[in-house]
């Protein structure tokens, strides 16, 4: 497995696809494939040695999660994006610094290629998060 990681800042947020598929069913395949992704620039993909659609592992101080990579032609290196949802939450912290709001944006993250690793379903995430992922 390639050991090279790429440092970035993770931003999580709304996407059209995530909003639309949540109405089809939060447990549907469509929803899963719309939230279990990480959008990044072409350079980052090149350094990681992956192509669009390949699995990528994101690691923060809180944990790690494997999702599909998605090319964002307009993105700059250093900032990656994940749609809101159970996968992004797996690696986000709940410290609110006294204002009630956890850090959903601007979280330091390291990306690694994750060949032969599959993206976990929401059911899996719920069970696995008990003992760490």
């Amino acid at each position: 497995m390639k050991k090279v990681g790429v440092k970035a800042v993770l931003i999580s947020g709304r996407t059209l696809q995530q909003g639309r598929t949540s109405e089809l069913g939060k447990l549907s395949e469509d929803y899963l494939s719309s939230v279990a992704v990480c959008e990044m620039d072409a350079n980052t993909m090149e350094v990681l040695g992956i192509h669009e659609g390949d699995a990528v592992r994101l690691e923060t101080l809180l944990g790690d999660v494997v999702v599909r990579s998605k090319l964002d032609q307009n993105a700059r290196p250093g900032v990656v994006f994940m749609p809101w949802g159970p996968h992004a939450n797996t690696i986000l912290g709940s410290e609110t610094h006294g204002c009630g709001m956890p850090s959903y944006k601007g979280v330091p993250v390291i990306l690694f290629p994750a060949p032969d690793t599959s993206v976990r379903t929401i059911d899996d995430l719920l069970h696995l998060s008990e003992g760490g992922i």
């Binding site: 947020g13 639309r20 900032v79 009630g100």
Partner: protein
């Protein structure tokens, strides 16, 4: 217990109607020009709605929770509504620190019952704004609320700023309905009304904007503070801030001072980024400064269709917009103390009553760890991630589709929601389920 619900018996296939001027119950734009075609108690066509709206209305019968269910020996078992309510009431009365959470995807009358229940229980009531625009509330409590209305923006604005907001994805008709439409004092909005986007990444909105200013993540406060300083005529002794040249920021501040009517729409890119309520606080002060030169207003881009309503009703009834604790018998407010994520993270909450939200899908990992250990009573029309681990699931009617009510648009305008179709057999609105829980609780506790 779960699947797509098919039309109820008693509706003939020929029962068709068109309902006009329906408010869309997806995002905070609450577009009230939706026309729906209904056949046999099912919405089959949505005219005027964006793709999010179409997805919500056309799939209203998909993936529903079919009936009340209670977890017995780890398995959800279908029970009568009465039994589910009794189970919920028992869990709530035996809790030491119950939390009522959600409320942003339902209507205002439900909120009223939720506050009453929180008071009866001596519990905490919080809405989903604590993880979206709660920091906007804190910011405006410190600095004021220079709010404008969307109609005024459409008629007057000649400069529209979106800061940390991507309406093309989150509020798809915001630009087409309010910004690109001509108004009383704006005949040619495509030419005379400019759109500027400030964001940390290129988005679908930044790509259609007249100007895009890409700032470095976590520098909103610095950038806004420098614009403020420049607006007030101060000299800067640095060359760049947040990735932008001071020279460019000077042009930005001059342009902001010289428009006729400016509007500052801000999203979670501002409220959730480093600085949080301080970012909003700085933005409010910038708008106040700009009002010494010309007219500026600011409007939060509220996400869920009635999250603004949750803040308003909470303020009317408890005195505070979110994170309200009744444990001493009177309402106390302290974000960071009584906000949902903090209570759950600190393992204080011992029962969660979730109304029309999905905290298991949207709360960070260690909050989720605790949610898995406590009883959750989940009121929602559809299967959601929370329903998977809930101890009690009570399906409810979809507000604005299967029951009426009121909701509040992102600019504070209350709108009356419509009942378009009948809810599935035996399914009642959130407000009525809460009333049943309250009645049961009063019966048990003799309060």
């Amino acid at each position: 217990m779960i699947c797509c619900i098919y039309p109820r018996e008693g509706f003939s296939i020929s029962s068709k109607k068109t309902v006009k001027n329906v408010p869309c119950v997806f995002c905070g734009c609450l577009c009230d020009d939706i026309a729906l075609e209904v056949e046999n108690n099912r919405i089959v066509k949505n005219i005027n709605g964006c793709s999010l709206s179409k997805s919500k209305f056309l799939n209203h019968l998909e993936d529903r929770l079919l009936g009340p269910a209670v977890r017995i020996n780890g398995i959800l078992v279908e029970v009568s509504l009465e039994k589910a309510v009794a189970h919920a009431a028992e869990a709530l009365t035996s809790a030491r620190r119950p939390l009522i959470y959600g409320l942003s995807s339902t209507e205002n009358d439900t909120h009223q019952e939720a506050y009453y229940l929180a008071e009866l229980l001596g519990g905490v009531v919080d809405n989903t704004s604590s993880v979206c625009h709660g920091t906007s509330m804190i910011g405006s409590q410190e600095s004021g609320d220079p709010l404008g209305s969307l109609a005024e923006v459409r008629h007057r604005a000649d400069l529209v700023v979106y800061w940390g907001s991507n309406p093309q994805f989150a509020h798809p008709r915001h630009i087409s309905r309010y910004i690109r439409q001509p108004g009383e004092y704006m005949q040619n909005p495509k030419k005379d009304r400019k759109i500027w986007v400030f964001d940390v990444r290129s988005t679908a909105t930044s790509r259609i904007a007249d100007e895009f200013f890409q700032i470095e993540p976590g520098t909103d406060l610095e950038v806004i503070s420098v614009i403020r300083a420049l607006v007030r005529g101060h000299e800067m002794d640095i060359d760049r801030v947040g990735g932008l040249a001071i020279e460019d920021l000077a042009k930005i501040s001059e342009a902001m001072k010289s428009v006729r009517y400016g509007v500052f729409f801000y999203g979670l890119g501002l409220t959730q980024s480093k600085g949080q309520h301080r970012n909003v606080d700085a933005a409010i002060r910038l708008i106040q400064d700009l009002n010494s030169f010309t007219k500026w207003v600011m409007i939060p881009m509220r996400g869920h269709f009635n999250v603004a309503g949750a803040n308003e009703t909470s303020t009317w009834q408890t005195g505070y917009p979110f994170a309200v604790d009744y444990s001493r018998g009177y309402p106390r407010y302290q974000p960071g103390e009584y906000s949902a994520v903090d209570l759950i993270r600190r393992r204080e909450t011992d029962v969660l009553l979730n109304v029309a939200a999905d905290p298991v899908a949207h709360f960070p990992r260690d909050a989720l760890e605790h949610l898995k250990r406590i009883p959750i009573i989940n009121l929602d029309p559809k299967r959601n991630v929370t329903s998977l681990i809930a101890e009690v699931n009570i399906p409810t009617a979809i507000a604005g589709i299967e029951c009426d009510g009121a909701a509040v648009r992102m600019d504070g305008l209350p709108l009356y929601l419509r009942k378009i179709v009948e809810p599935p057999e035996g399914i009642i609105p959130d407000r009525d389920v809460l009333k049943l829980i309250i009645a049961r609780l009063r019966m048990v506790t003799k309060r």
